[in-house]
């Protein structure tokens, strides 16, 4: 499980174009910067596709290896499009992985004990903290209408237009409700994380 703690924004001293050019020039610090800058985004994209943290980590490594090789060799034609280039390689590797027959087999030996992720104390703690935060967010919402917006949008996955039409909300009001709830949730969750 990914921790929700917000990391500080990476240094934006150079744009994608400059970064790509520095890598092409053989600057090791640029390669480290590329990894730090894109690691989280690539991991999110790959994990969303393969739904497995271990495989996502492997594919993430492969993505950066391939990206660096290609950039070094000058295969990135437009250095300004470095982000799109990285995304394409990450998606390609994830799709390739999904196309391949499974390399692993489920364990059949009855004696082998596999740890239950539900019993992981850290996961339990994080889940509890999320629950506490969401309860408080909901309790703090004075309007039942706002709670209904959250429920229908996040749980029932209704379209924004439908919810707005039903509750006589403008798009701006809707966005405000969602934004406030999300930010308050993040705030409470981070506070809880700091307390721990």
């Amino acid at each position: 499980m990914e921790m929700t703690s917000v990391e500080g924004p990476p240094s934006r001293q150079t744009g994608p174009r400059e970064l790509a050019l520095r890598i092409q020039a053989g600057e090791p610090a640029a390669e480290a910067e590329l990894f730090e800058r894109y690691r989280r985004g690539v991991s999110t994209i790959v994990h969303r596709m393969v739904r497995d943290s271990c495989i996502a980590d492997d594919l993430c490594q492969d993505t950066f290896r391939l990206v660096l090789e290609k950039v070094r060799r000058g295969e990135l034609r437009d250095p300004q499009k470095l982000s799109g280039f990285i995304c394409n390689i990450a998606r390609y590797l994830a799709i390739e992985h999904l196309r391949q027959p499974r390399r692993t087999q489920p364990l059949k030996e009855p004696g082998l004990s596999v740890p239950d992720p539900k019993l992981d104390p850290l996961s339990t703690l994080i889940e509890r903290e999320k629950m506490r935060a969401i309860r408080q967010v909901l309790q703090e919402m004075s309007l039942a209408r706002d709670r209904e917006v959250l429920r229908r949008f996040y749980l029932e996955e209704e379209a924004k237009e439908s919810i707005c039409a039903d509750l006589a909300l403008s798009s701006l009001q809707f966005n405000r409700v969602v934004f406030r709830a999300r930010e308050r949730f993040r705030e409470l969750y981070q506070q809880g994380g700091k307390r721990q």
Binding site: E2, T4, V6, E7, P9, P10, P16, R37, Y38, R40, G41, V42, T44, I45, S83, G84, I86, C87, A90, R91, E127, K130, M131, A133, I134, R135, L138, Q139, M141, A144, D146, R147, E148, L150, R151, F153, Y154, L155, E156, E157, E158, K160, S162, D166, S171, N175, V178, F179, A181, R182, E183, F185, R186, Y189
Partner: protein, 266 residues
């Protein structure tokens, strides 16, 4: 794709819910892979959704998280009102139907009770009359045939075959003398050696008028054939009886003629 567009169109949440088109998704990924703010929002949106889902599953009575019926484009309050009205109408129809059915059954029960009472009364009356009848002393001459009212005892008259010249002169040789009181009369016909399987007989008045006819008559072992009549059948006068026998081929042949005179005693 810039932040204004992303915020305005809730792209982060829609990406998390997998509701973007592939093109939109690729465009957004190209942006957020290098955008810590969007990455953070995406993580928060995912956590928020997971927490809401867990809260709804674990404790459905959280404010604003009660499960609702599937939406079909009608507000919940209107839908609930329509459902309530429909339920009420259904309930009323059911009540009216049950009341009518109950009244109908009560009427049927009342009719059945009346019929039962009448039958019981009739049974009681018949039982009483039977009891009274059984208690009456037995009277002489009670041997009447229950069906016809005639005494069971019968008078038997043996008739001989008439020869050709016997019809003239003083009339028939055989006499049947009857009293006025009703009784059975058995005419015992001498078959005179005929051995037909069955016979048919025709009784006529001396004037030639046929009075009675019967077929399929079978003889007794004594080679006689008995014909039984109620005494009231006869009037005073001469009678002529023709007996025909049925051969094995099915044809009939005259087996004999019998004539007799009936006399009724005053």
């Amino acid at each position: 794709m810039d932040h204004t567009y992303i915020k305005e169109h809730n792209v982060v949440e829609r990406y998390e819910m997998d509701k973007l088109t592939p093109a939109e998704s690729a465009c957004f990924e190209e942006h957020f892979v290098d955008c810590p703010e969007c990455q953070s929002q995406l993580t928060t949106a995912r956590d928020l959704r997971q927490a809401l889902r867990a809260a709804a599953t674990e404790n459905g009575n959280l404010p604003g998280l009660k499960a609702t019926s599937p939406r079909i484009g009608v507000p919940v309050s209107r839908l609930a009102a329509a459902s309530s009205a429909a339920c009420l109408v259904l309930l009323m129809v059911t009540v009216v139907f049950l009341v009518r059915e109950t009244l109908h059954l009560q009427r049927q029960l009342s009719q059945a009770n009346d019929a039962s009472r009448a039958l019981r009364q009739r049974y009681e009356a018949e039982r009483q009359s039977n009891t009274e009848r059984q208690q009456q002393p037995t009277q002489p001459g009670d041997q009447n045939d229950s069906a016809s009212g005639l005494p069971v005892i019968a008078s038997v008259f043996a008739l001989d075959i008439t020869r050709g010249d016997e019809s003239g002169g003083s009339g028939p040789a055989d006499r049947v003398v009857l009293s006025k009181s009703p009784q059975w009369v058995v005419l015992s016909l001498d078959l005179n050696g005929n051995h037909f399987q069955s016979y048919r007989a025709t009784l006529a008045h001396s004037g030639g008028e046929a009075l009675w006819k019967a077929g399929g008559l079978t003889p007794a072992r004594t080679n006689t054939l008995g014909l039984t009549f109620p005494s009231g059948f006869f009037r005073q006068g001469d009678y002529f009886l023709t007996l025909e026998g049925q051969s094995r081929q099915g044809s009939y042949a005259v087996a004999g003629h019998y004539s007799f005179r009936v006399t009724i005693k005053p």
